[in-house]
């Protein structure tokens, strides 16, 4: 249904990025995000290079620009917390607000760099999940050392996520179907805030009870199919020499960029 299309960030495709080994992609993405975090605020050439890398990867992955920008907007509400930087960093005064706050050049640089860093990181992580199916991504995380119990749990979580989100949506549909409202003033739907919260609490409670019952059924079905407490997954093929070299070269390149940024501007 359209629901799963909304939720699953994977965009089917056969681009260069889609075909990369997931372990290579995860390694590069983490290296890139670390490099972005290490880049000093005023290292503009490094910043431009990082923007260019991000754009190049997004284009190679054949991601639609609209989706890239919409996902980048995810981190934007948090940018509010960087706004005070505009006024609290001392430096060259740009202009003074009527009530005495001073906007400084250095503050503006810091603020812009925080927002840009979060954007670039979000876009890169978005490309990773748009080009890698979740079970494959989890396999890569397992290969990179994430504990087996955690990976197995997330695997099951992913399998039932869509079912339970649909369940939650049905609960909300049912509630809005019960809550008629009138345009006439003084005749609004529902009771007090506490009453509305209680109704929502009841919905959450029944969602959890249904989830528990579903977990019991799932467990019974798994046992019937020979489950013995061990989740078996297909082993990924060992990394080829070519893939090993590309991971190392990619990380070395990113390390050089980070090192240059720190040396020249740090």
């Amino acid at each position: 249904m359209s629901l799963s299309q909304n939720l699953d960030p994977y965009l089917p495709g056969s681009s260069l990025v889609h075909r990369l080994d997931p372990r290579v992609k995860v390694g590069w993405a983490l290296g890139f995000i670390l490099t972005v975090a290490l880049t000093p605020p005023d290292a503009w050439p490094v910043g431009i290079l990082l923007v260019a890398i991000t754009a190049a990867v997004a284009i190679l992955a054949e991601m639609p620009a609209g989706i890239v920008l919409r996902r980048a907007a995810m981190a934007t509400p948090f940018a509010l917390s960087a706004l005070p930087l505009l006024f609290t960093v001392s430096g060259h005064e740009l202009w003074t607000l009527p009530w005495g706050w001073t906007l400084t050049y250095e503050g503006a640089v810091r603020c812009v760099s925080v927002v840009m860093k979060s954007w670039l990181s979000v876009i890169m992580a978005g490309v990773l999940t748009a080009t890698t199916r979740m079970p494959v991504l989890l396999g890569a995380l397992r290969a990179l050392g994430v504990p087996r119990l955690l990976v197995a749990t997330v695997n099951l979580m992913w399998r039932y996520l869509f079912v339970l989100v649909a369940e939650a949506r049905r609960l909300m549909h049912a509630r809005s179907a019960r809550s008629a409202s009138s345009p006439r003033p003084g005749l609004h739907a529902g009771g007090s805030i506490a009453w509305r919260a209680k109704v929502t609490g009841g919905m959450a409670g029944s969602l959890f009870l249904r989830a528990l019952a579903r977990a019991d059924r799932t467990y019974a079905a798994m046992v019937a199919r020979g489950y013995d407490g061990d989740i078996r997954t297909l082993r990924l093929t060992p990394l080829t020499l070519h893939e090993r070299i590309s991971i190392i070269l990619g990380l070395a390149g990113l390390g050089t960029v980070a090192g240059l940024g720190l040396l020249l501007w740090g």
Binding site: P84, F87, S121, G126, T129, L156, G229
Partner: protein
């Protein structure tokens, strides 16, 4: 796109590298310990149970109710997972939820994931566990106690986690402590009410439908006792440090400098603060946070008082 309007998932870029790495280290150690506990304590049915409940927490975060003027109350789910599953599995469930939100939906960064896990999976769950056990110990196991402890643990877990979040932003030099901490605490003192109300409502529903799920815990093991103490310590520590930090941001700067948290470029950040660039906000900040803590204290005292009264009257 699927977005939970929770201003608690820190994206990448807002935390300094050192703060991120330290919190990653703490989270890995604590979650590793939780994995070990769950592996030894619980049988094989735990994997489907935790996986499906993690999906339910994720889906439950969509449930909302309108409050006023377009704002709405939401569920984060740490408290309800703790009460239904017990602290260690709940920690893993929240780890899965927060991890999937970061990796799949970019709700929270990857480098910042350590900090987000610390705030929502570790602080949220341990504080919820501590509050719930405390109230239950004092008041016994009655239906209304479940509801009250649901509200208190939901609210306090959100509030304390937001203090941790504000403190991390301040330590990273992203927001000055006297703005970040009161802002986070203020917003989440309100968001926490929604969390508390939904948690209480959900527990009331579960109590009436399947009260067997909420049977009191077996005799406390040393590990669960240490978790209880940990929850208490985290709550007290964060509640004490944050007002101090927001009242004396230069003190935080001193700590940060001693630890080498702030580079040379960031050091001037706080130089302006002692001159009260934003006049009066420092005292206001202190007042806000102190009011929050006083609120926590009042809720706890009122709950304990009522519980004691009930216990005495039921004894006679």
């Amino acid at each position: 796109m699927f977005a939970t309007p929770m201003p608690m998932h820190i994206p990448d870029g807002f935390l300094s590298v050192i703060v991120s790495l330290v919190l990653w280290g703490i989270s890995v150690i604590v979650i590793g310990f939780a994995l070990k506990r769950v592996n030894t304590d619980l049988e094989e049915r735990q994997i489907p149970l935790m996986g499906i409940l993690a999906a339910a927490v994720f889906a439950g975060q969509m449930l909302n109710f309108s409050v006023t003027g377009g704002t709405s109350g939401h569920l984060l789910g740490a408290a309800i997972a703790t009460i239904l599953l017990g602290p260690w599995p709940a920690m893993l469930v929240m780890t899965c939820v927060v991890g999937v939100q970061a990796i799949v939906f970019q709700d929270g960064g990857l480098l910042a994931l350590g900090a987000n896990l610390f705030n929502m999976a570790i602080v949220g769950v341990t504080v919820a566990y501590f509050v719930q056990r405390l109230i239950q110990k004092l008041a016994g196991n009655r239906p209304w106690v479940t509801v009250v402890s649901g509200f208190a643990s939901g609210w306090l877990s959100i509030f304390i986690a937001s203090l941790a979040c504000g403190l991390q932003l301040a330590l990273s030099g992203t927001s000055p402590a006297n703005i970040a901490i009161p802002a986070m605490a203020g917003i989440h003192a309100l968001i926490g009410i929604g969390e508390g109300l939904i948690t209480a409502g959900a527990l009331a529903f579960v109590t009436s439908a399947r009260s067997d799920l909420l049977t009191p815990e077996e005799t406390p093991t040393p590990a669960s006792r240490s978790l209880w103490v940990g929850g208490l310590a985290l709550a007290v520590l964060l509640a004490v440090i944050s007002p101090i930090a927001s009242a004396h941001p230069d003190g935080l700067e001193w700590v940060a400098e001693q630890q080498g948290f702030l580079g040379r470029a960031q050091a001037p950040l706080y130089d302006l603060m002692p001159d009260y660039l934003l006049p009066g906000i420092s005292n206001e900040a202190l007042a806000t946070v102190l009011a929050g803590i006083a609120g926590v204290g009042l809720v706890l005292i009122a709950t304990i008082g009522v519980a004691m009264g009930r216990r005495r009257s039921s004894a006679t």
